[in-house]
Structures are given as C-alpha cells and as structure tokens.
Amino acid sequence: MANTREIRSRIKSIQDIMKITNAMYLISSSKLKKARKSLAATKPYFEALQATIYDILVRAPHVHNVFFQRRDEIAPSDRKKGFLVITADKGLAGAYNHNVIKKAEEEMKKSNNNYLFVVGQVGRQYFNRKSVKLDGEFLYTAQNPTLYRAENISKTIIDLFEQKELDDVYVIYTKMITPMKAEVQFGKLLPLERKKFERRAAGYQHAKFDPSSEIVMDRLVPNYLKGLIFGVLVESFSSEQNARMTAMEAATKSAKDMLKRLELQYNRARQAAITQEITEIVSGAKSLKK
C-alpha cells in the first residue's frame, strides 16, 4: 500500500486541477449565457435567410452569373475544393474540436486538391502539423463572432472562387441542436444551384428580378454568404462554450470522485501506520519486561 505522504501529494495535485476545471466551468457558463443570447438573436435571421434563399433559388430564372458556375468541364479529381472549417481557439472542450477535424479529414480524403480555411487556433495548429495546404493569411479567431469578420471571410472566399482558385466551397461547423446535443454539419457554400425541378414540382412561376437577375445576384449572393457565415460562426461559438462547460463539469465531478477514493485510502494508510506503531511499542515494552 502506498504510504501516506504519496497519497497526500496526489490529493493536493487533484485539488489544484479541480480548482482549474471548476474555474473554467464557471467562465464558460457565463460565456455561454452571452453566446446563447446572441444565438437566440441571430437564429431567426439565419433560418429565414436559408429558407428565403431556397425560395429565391426555386423561383430564379436561368442566370449567367459566376456564382452559379458549376464548371462541369473540370474532372472530379482535379476540382479545387475549399473547406471553411470552424474550430475553437482553445482545447479542453470535450470532443468539440475533434469531431469537426475528423469530419474535415474525412471529406478531404475524397479529393486531392484541398484548400483549408480554418477559423480558430486549435484546427489551424492541427492541420499545420499535418502539413495540409492552409491559407496563411486566413487568421480569424472564433471568439465573439461579428458581422464584420463574416464579411471578410466571405470576401476572401468569393474572390478565390471568382478567380477560379476554388471550384467548390464547403463549410464544416458545429450546430447546437439541443443544449445537450451538438452535431457537426457539412454544407455547400458555392456554387449555388438553381432548384429547377423543385420549382416545376411546386408549380411556381419565375419571380421577377429587379433590375435584372444578374445585378441582383451579384449583390444578393455576397450578402447571403456573409449572413450565412455569420450564422455559422455564432452557432459554432455557442456550441463550443456549451461543449467546454459540459466537459469541465464532468472533469470537476470525476475529480471529486477521485478525491473521495483517495481520502479513504489515505485514512486507511494512516490507521495502518498507527496500528503498526502501537504494535511496535507494545512488543518493545513486552520485551523490556522480560
């Protein structure tokens, strides 16, 4: 059995770690409150944006616009795929980062020409170590998303798409489904697809685009992407805080369990030592009497 001093020092170190996990739990729960608030404020926009764009694409007439270029002439193996991957700036958030990175790697296996745009330190460092092609200028934090940052990100992506440096652009992020459940989402950003068949099925007429569908799409698509990326950032930030909070809560709880077990062991060791001492004294005294 381990001696009392060893057990004491283990108890001490676990107590110290528990202080840290508990503090992180408190921090992330207060950050989560803020993130939830901004998520609740943005969610109606995010959802209406997706529904409206879907509706617009259903009603759109044929347009010659760069955002609708499918570039079918390029073979699937030569297509340049861009991935916008949203990770956290810090670790210790349970499986949050891991899930996103796993999904990104899974998708990257399908093609040879991958370009990564990573938001958040953890993902950037991970892919740097793996020496994956990363955009070095693409440095954005995952903390407190703003519309301004979303605008910069969407501008970078649109520029590259227009210059034919990218043929397909996808986004990988985490969506908070319920407070207890988050799921990694995978979606296509560009090129957009007209929903010709859905329109015929729904029996809609083409909508009028004023002044012309080209001009409207030229302004609408960047605006849509900006809004979409903003929504994605807000959603991810909120799930990150949520993941960290649950992870830290679990860590604090298991530290408490461990302390309880060690306390028991410590007391046993202490008692054993006392018993042994008493036996030694008694037997010593006995031998003196003789």
Partner: protein, 136 residues
C-alpha cells in the same frame, strides 16, 4: 381600408418586425420601391437608406443597411444586416463614424479600402439622415 399583406423584417442581430402592413417603401438598387398587397413575385436588393412601412394608417421609419427583399403576392420578407429605429440611432456615434470615414477617404487608399470606406460613410450618413428626418 387598404388591403394588407404580411411583412417580416429581420436584421442579422434581431427580428425587427412581423405583422400586417398596408404599404412598404424601401430603397432598392436603382431608387425607391413602393409595395402594396398583391404585388407580383419579385426579388431585389436593399441599398442603405430609409425604409418606411404603414401599419393601421401610421407610418414607421427605420434606417437599413445592405440586405435583400423577397416579395410574393401575400408576404414580403426583408433580410438586412442592420435595422435601427430613429430613436435607437446614436447621433453622436454616427457623426464620429462619418468624420472618421471622411478623414480616411482623403488618404490614398487601395481600391478595396476605398469601397469599404465609402460603404461605411454611406451607412453613417444614412443614419444621420434618418435621425434628422424623424427626431422622435
């Protein structure tokens, strides 16, 4: 009584208005658009400017920035980056933003910076204009 249609205005940071509306006027790409009920299906973009809509005979005003509008015969959805009521506009802040942008415009800027700054200036001036026209 004018015919009504369903109007939904959503900003990126909050839902702004949802309900019936008799008439809507918003700044489009090439001038203002007025919308009444039973408008033909149309999609167009917003420009920074003043938006107004009539509910039960009373006009409501707000300052909008970029965004887009989807119109069908029954409802209208406006999705904008920001929307502010005149009473929520901070005149002082808008004035500072305007001065900053004007100062920056005088510097030699790259094309991209120039357009960005011009947008900032547009938004600031638009806020000031809406605030001036409707001092509560």
């Amino acid at each position: 009584m004018a015919k009504k249609f369903q109007l939904e205005i959503i900003a990126s940071d909050h839902p702004f208005y949802k309900g019936d509306c008799e008439m809507l006027v918003f700044p489009g790409i090439d001038g203002k658009h007025g919308i009444l009920a039973n408008h033909e299906a149309m999609v167009t973009c917003l420009s920074p400017g003043e938006i107004k809509f009539q509910v039960d005979g009373e006009w409501h005003y707000a300052a909008v920035s970029d965004g887009f509008v989807e119109i069908t015969s029954k409802n209208v959805i406006i999705l904008a980056d920001t929307i502010e009521r005149p009473e929520d506009i901070d005149e002082h802040r808008a004035e500072i933003a305007r001065l900053n942008a004007e100062e920056k415009m005088r510097q030699k800027l790259s094309n991209q910076e120039y357009y960005q700054t011009r947008l900032v200036l547009n938004r600031a001036m638009n806020r000031l204009k809406v605030k001036k026209n409707h001092p509560n």
